[in-house]
């Protein structure tokens, strides 16, 4: 029992990171009812952007966020405004192909520019741990991921609750026609929402880049994690993101604890399949 404590703790912390990864995609799904299949690749784009800013300005990864976040906002705004808004409609196939197309373009552009080498956002936090009691260690980086993740979720929640733009976004997702009748330009709103979603992806990308190594093709891996979080936690639910993230991370880490480190991803997928089979709407989702 004692030796379960570490994976459980790690799972909670990692869950926070998983939650931020999923946050942007989950939010956009709640708003435009579309899943952005290029979300993982856009997140990895942030990781690479951070790499660039770190090299160019000699910053540490946290500071690079100040540059990466606005860039990603613009990226998201443009993608939604000029691409995704145009294929929003009844049919689901055009958005699907556009997202896949985007994914291909991103992965291959990153491959061409940055080569297939493994990358990482260096920080001395990576190896630091704080001992808690005799058998438990707090991995500092995971802890930072968790704190930042929760901070982003909280910030987003407040944004949606308190600001005019946030409320307009909620209104547009509740009833698009009603929102337009208020004088809200819903197409613009979607673009702003995507910009914000991309800012959360920027945070996720930088955190992921600091915590794990990344390659141009690691996007889809995180897309699946985001899906897992969304499915377990419930679509469009922010609280669900955190809970779903923690459950998925726990499934992975506890599973790996019992079956071996090579099976970490597998355990996560299996739990995901089980949830899909038993309660597809997730914990906070409506049946």
């Amino acid at each position: 029992m004692q030796d379960l404590l570490q994976p459980i703790l790690n799972g909670i912390l990692l869950g926070g990171l998983y939650a931020v990864i999923a946050l942007g995609m989950n939010t956009m799904f709640g708003i435009v009812k579309l899943v952005n299949l290029a979300h993982g690749d856009l997140m990895i784009l942030s990781s690479y952007l951070s790499l660039v800013f770190i090299a160019w300005l000699g910053l540490n990864p946290f500071w690079s966020l100040l540059a990466v976040a606005p860039v990603m906002f613009v990226v998201g705004f443009l993608i939604q405004g000029f691409l995704l808004n145009r294929v929003l409609g009844k049919e689901m196939e055009p958005p699907l192909l556009v997202a896949f197309g985007l994914s291909i373009i991103l992965q291959n552009s990153l491959l061409l520019v940055f080569t297939p080498d493994a990358r990482s956002l260096m920080t001395d936090l990576s190896v630091k741990t704080i001992p808690l009691g005799s058998s438990l260690n707090l991995p500092v980086l995971y802890f930072v991921d968790f704190l930042l993740g929760c901070a982003v979720i909280l910030a987003l929640h407040l944004f949606f609750k308190r600001t005019y733009l946030g409320r307009a976004i909620r209104a547009s997702s509740d009833d698009e026609v009603g929102a337009r009748l208020m004088g809200i330009n819903t197409r613009n709103i979607y673009a702003y929402a995507m910009g914000i979603a991309m800012m959360t992806a920027a945070v996720a990308g930088v955190l992921v880049g600091m915590t794990f190594t990344f390659y141009p093709h690691t996007g889809p891996q995180y897309l699946i994690i985001a899906f897992g979080v969304m499915i377990i936690g419930g679509l469009g639910s922010m609280a669900g993101c955190l809970v779903g993230g923690i459950i998925l991370a726990e499934a992975q880490l506890l599973g790996a604890h019992f079956t071996g480190p090579g099976y970490q991803l597998l355990c996560g997928y299996l739990v995901l399949l089980i949830v899909l089979g038993l309660r597809p709407q997730g914990i906070f989702g409506k049946a």
Binding site: Y164, R180, L181, M182
Partner: protein, 241 residues
């Protein structure tokens, strides 16, 4: 000298893809009037309001608002000019609170500054909304939601309110109450165009009425000058033998 009418629709045609929903519609609404547009389902009443509000672009004809052309403008352009639509089915935002719904009504930047002032007025007009201001809109009854929809439409200080079937699905007692307040709003100086299926009620409250059938205006006049016979015939499309 005749003043500019608040709303002037001339020779309006509107299509949904290949289907023509409005045929050569012309009508006028003067400032401070309450005008009823009556017709059965499918007669084109909602299409007409949607065209005025900007949800639909007419294929022919013009719409003038105090002399300014507004046909083809989108809702986010007509709302700042002083036109709001209370849509069919109310369309309140279910997961926003009553307060948040109302506040959405003053979304346009000009109106945001006046938000609190307008909120006070609406709370006065609909005390019920004030009582329920923190509740989620989807927990309100039909009548309450209708009041919310109307209140929301008033938040942008419109000069013209278009009401699309506000009595649909409501109990007669509730409808009476809502119409009372609508009359009050009209008396305060706001021009209202009322679209209804309920002939009696909308004739009682209107200065003038238009009857529509299959996308055309088939009868118009002051309620006092229209006989029940005439109205029924026009409504149902019974042509004289």
């Amino acid at each position: 000298m005749p003043k500019r009418p608040a709303l002037k629709v001339s020779e309006l045609d509107a299509h949904y893809k290949d289907f023509q929903a409005l045929w050569n519609i012309s009508f006028e609404v003067n400032k401070r009037e309450m005008v009823s547009i009556i017709g059965a389902n499918g007669s084109g009443k909602s299409t007409l309001l949607n065209s005025i509000a900007g949800l639909l672009v007419p294929s022919r004809g013009t719409i003038e608002f105090f002399g300014e052309r507004i046909d083809g403008l989108l809702p986010h352009e007509t709302v700042p000019r002083g036109i709001t639509l209370v849509p069919e089915g109310r369309r309140v935002f279910p997961r926003l609170s009553v307060y948040e719904n109302l506040v959405m009504g003053s979304y346009t930047p000009k109106m945001r500054a006046k938000k609190d002032e307008m909120l006070a007025k609406i709370y006065e007009l609909f005390p019920l909304l004030k009582a329920r201001r923190r509740q989620m809109a989807n927990t309100l009854s039909g009548g309450e939601q209708q009041m919310l929809a109307i209140g929301r439409a008033m938040m942008s200080e419109p000069q013209l309110i278009l009401c699309d079937e506000i009595s649909l699905g409501l109990a007669p007692v509730v409808i009476k109450d809502i119409y009372k307040r609508l009359r009050q709003i009209n008396q305060d100086g706001i021009t209202i165009v009322l679209v209804e299926q309920d002939i009696k009620r909308s004739l009682k409250v209107a200065n003038r009425a238009y009857i529509m059938l299959e996308g055309k205006v088939v009868l118009e006049g002051e309620p006092s000058s229209l006989t029940e016979e005439q109205v029924k015939k026009a409504y149902f499309g019974i042509r004289p033998a």
